[in-house]
C-alpha cells in the first residue's frame, strides 16, 4: 500500500512537472518579432549635444501639469535656485548627464523612454495601463488605470519608468513623446523642438535609422560604429549615436531578443487557450471524486468529507 501510493504520488508530481517543463522546453520556436519602421521616435547624437539642458526645461514646462512633473531641489541648494534632479525620477522625464572619463574625454548623454518595439512594460502591466500606440508606436501610460504595482519598473531593462515614492497619491512617470501636449499641438516632441544644437532629431524610425547610418558613414572617426537602439531588446524607437562606448554612458548592453518575447512565449505556452488549467482541474476532480467514493463505501465512521 505504502509503496503503491508513493508511486502514485510521484506520478502526480511527474505529470504536473512534465506539463510545465515541456512547455518551457518547447517555448523556443514561435513567431518572430516584426520591426515596424513607420513608428515615430528620436535620434539623440551625443557628439552634437552641448549640454545646455534646454530639452530638460522644455520637457518640464510642457508636461508639468499633464505629466505630474515638478521642480526638484538638490541637497546643496538651500536657497532653492536650481531645478536639479540627480536622475530620472517621479518629477523628471528626461535628463542630461555628463560622463567624464578624463578632462579631455567626456560625453553628454540624454535619458528618456526608449519606446521599444516590443516594450517589456506593456507586456507585464496587469491592467493595460501601459500601452503601445498602434500607428505611432508611442509607449504611453494611463494613470487612471494604473494600480501602482511597479512591475513595469522591474521589467524595464533601461530602468525608465519612475515612481513617485514621496506622494500619497503616486503615479508612474515616463516620457510619452509629448503625445498629449507638444506632439498634439506642434507635431514634435518638446525636447527635439527646443534643442539648439540639433542633437535630437524627431521623426519616423526608418528616417532616423537612415540618418544615423549616413552620419556613421560620413564621419567614421567621430562615432562608435553602432546605432544604439537599432537592435537592442528587439529594437527601440529612441536611438543613440555617441563617441564613447554606450555602456559607459549608462546605457546597458542588451541582447537583440526582446525580453518580453522570452517571457510571453513561456506564459502563452502554459496557458494556451486555457486548456492546461481546465484539463488539470477536470483530471484532479475525477481522481478526487473517485477517492471520496471509495472512502464512502469503506465505512462512514472516520473519514468523511471536510466536516461530517
Amino acid at each position: 500500500m505504502k509503496k503503491q501510493s508513493r508511486r502514485d504520488f510521484l506520478k502526480v508530481v511527474a505529470v504536473g512537472a512534465g506539463v510545465v517543463a515541456g512547455t518551457a522546453a518547447t517555448a523556443g520556436a514561435s513567431e518572430k518579432l516584426v520591426v515596424n519602421n513607420e513608428e515615430v521616435g528620436m535620434l539623440y547624437d551625443a557628439t552634437k549635444c552641448v549640454g545646455c539642458k534646454a530639452c530638460m526645461s522644455a520637457c518640464k514646462r510642457v508636461n508639468r501639469d499633464y505629466g505630474s512633473l515638478s521642480y526638484e531641489k538638490a541637497s546643496f541648494d538651500s536657497d532653492g535656485l536650481w531645478d536639479a534632479p540627480s536622475d530620472l525620477d517621479g518629477s523628471t522625464r528626461t535628463l542630461i548627464k555628463l560622463f567624464k572619463e578624463s578632462n579631455q574625454r567626456w560625453s553628454y548623454v540624454k535619458y528618456s523612454c526608449m519606446h521599444c518595439q516590443k516594450p517589456s512594460c506593456v507586456s507585464v502591466c496587469p491592467v493595460s495601463a501601459m500601452t503601445k500606440e498602434k500607428v505611432t508606436g508611442i509607449v504611453d501610460y494611463n494613470k487612471n488605470t494604473c494600480i501602482g504595482c511597479r512591475y513595469c519598473q522591474v521589467a524595464c531593462p533601461y530602468n525608465i519608468p519612475k515612481f513617485q515614492w514621496e506622494k500619497a497619491i503616486p503615479q508612474i512617470v515616463k516620457c510619452d513623446l509629448c503625445k498629449n501636449t507638444n506632439l498634439r499641438e506642434k507635431g514634435i516632441s518638446a525636447c527635439a523642438e527646443t534643442c539648439p544644437a540639433g542633437a535630437i532629431k524627431f521623426g519616423k524610425r526608418k528616417d532616423l535609422l537612415e540618418e544615423a547610418h549616413q552620419r556613421l558613414l560620413e564621419n567614421p572617426d567621430r562615432y562608435i560604429a553602432h546605432v544604439y537602439g537599432e537592435h537592442e531588446g528587439g529594437g527601440t524607437n529612441h536611438m543613440y549615436l555617441a563617441a564613447m562606448p554606450f555602456n559607459k554612458l549608462g546605457l546597458p548592453e542588451i541582447k537583440p531578443e526582446a525580453p518580453a518575447e522570452f517571457s510571453e512565449k513561456i506564459q502563452h505556452t502554459i496557458y494556451k487557450g486555457f486548456i492546461a488549467p481546465v484539463a488539470l482541474y477536470s483530471t484532479l476532480c475525477f481522481i478526487a471524486v473517485k477517492n471520496m467514493k471509495g472512502h464512502g463505501k469503506e465505512g462512514h465512521d472516520s473519514h468523511d468529507k471536510e466536516e461530517s
Binding site: 501602482g148 515614492w165 522570452f262
Partner: protein
Amino acid sequence: MSHHQDEYQRLEGKIFTKAFWILLLTVMVGFFFVGVRYVKGIGAVSNMSDGYPWGIWITYDVATGTAIACGGYAVAILVYIRNRMQYHPLIRSAILTSMFGYGLAGFSVMVDLGRPWNAYNFFIPSKWQANSAMFEVALCVMAYSTVLIIEFIPAILTSIENSKWETMHRVRDWLHPKIAPDPDDMVDKLEAVRLGAAWLKPRLNKVLIFFIVLGITLPTMHQSSLGSLLLIASTKLHPLWHTGFLPLLFLLNCIFIGYAIAILESLISCYSFKRPYETEELSGLANLIPYVTVIWLSVVVGDLIWRGQVGAALKGDFYSGFFLTEFLLVAVGSLLLFVKKMRHSPRWLFVSAAMIVLGGALYRFNVYLIGFNPGKGWRYFPSFAEIMITVGIVALEILGYKVFVALFPVLPNTHGHGGKMRKKLEPEQKEHAPLPKAA
C-alpha cells in the same frame, strides 16, 4: 448533536494570554506604519527605490509568504489526490494557515500598491492583459483566497451549531434594558441561525470536494506564475536564477515548502499548546519531501549545466554564496529525511523541516531580491518601518491562528487520534466549559 465531529476539536484554554497581548502590540506597531504609508507615501516608510521597486513586502509577504501558506495545498494533494485519508486530521489547520497566509498576502499587496483604488480594473475584461504573469497571479490568488474561506466554512458552521451563545447573552445582560433585545426574541433568532447553519452544512459538504480540487488547481497555476513574474527581468536577475524553468522551480518549491511547513506547524502548535506530537503522520509526510526536493535539485543542477553556469555557482562570490546556502539547506535537510530514525524523532523532523523551509524561502528571496541587480548605484535594504509592517502582518497571522483554533474545531482531535474516533461526546462537553469568552 455534536456527535459527528470528533476528527477535529477546539483548543481548550484561554485566548487572552500574555502572548496574545504581545502579538497584538506588534500588530498595532505595524499598522501604525501602514497608516503613515497611506498619509505620506510609500517612500516615507520604505527603502524601496526606482531600482528596487519591489522590497520585502512583495518578496516576503507575497512571494515567500504564499509558499509558506502552501501547507493547505500540499496536504490537500496528499489527502484528496493521493488518497491518503489518514492525513485528513491535519488538513483543517493547514487550510487555516493558508487562509491567513493568502489573506494577509493580499492585504500587504494593498499596502504595497501605489494606486490600490484602481485595483477594480482586474475585474474589467477590457483591461485584462493575459501576457502579464502578474495578472494571472492576481486573479488566481483572489480566487484561491475565496476558495480557502469556503473550505473553512464547515468549521465555522459546526461552531455555530454547537454554540451556547454565552457571550451574546452576557452582552445582552450588560446592555441597558431599554436598548437590549427581548431575550425570548433573541433566543428564537439565534435558534434560526443555528438551524440555518445545520441546513447549510450537509449541502455545502456535498459540493465541497469541487472547491477543494479548485483549491489544488489554483495554487498550481499561480505558484508557477510567481516564478514567471521574473522571466522578463533577463538583464537584471543574476544568471544563476534566471532560467526558463523558473515557473517549474517555483511550483516544486512551493510543494516541498508546503509539506515541510505542515510538519513545522504541527510540531510547533503541539509544543506550544502542549498536545502530543503527531509523529506517525508527520514522518509519513516527511517521507514524501525528498522525492520533490530531489526533482527540484536535479532541475536546478541540470539547468545550470545546460546553461553553462556551474562555474558561477561555485565562484565563491556574493551570489554564489547565497546560491550555495539555498541549495545546501534544501539538500542537507532532505538527506536527513532519508534516515528512518530521524524521520521518527520530533527533534530531527523539526531541524530538517526548518532547513528545507529556510532553503526554499531563501530561493525565493534570491530570485526576487538578492539575485536582482538593476544596475550600478542601486542598493536596497529594508527600513525599520518596512520590516515592522511585515512583522506586524506576520504577527496578525499568528494571532488570527491562535484565536481561530480556540473558536473553531481546527486542530486534530487528540482523543480520537488520526481520525480514529474513540471517545465521542467527552471532548465536546469539555470544550465549552473553560471557554466562556469564545462562545
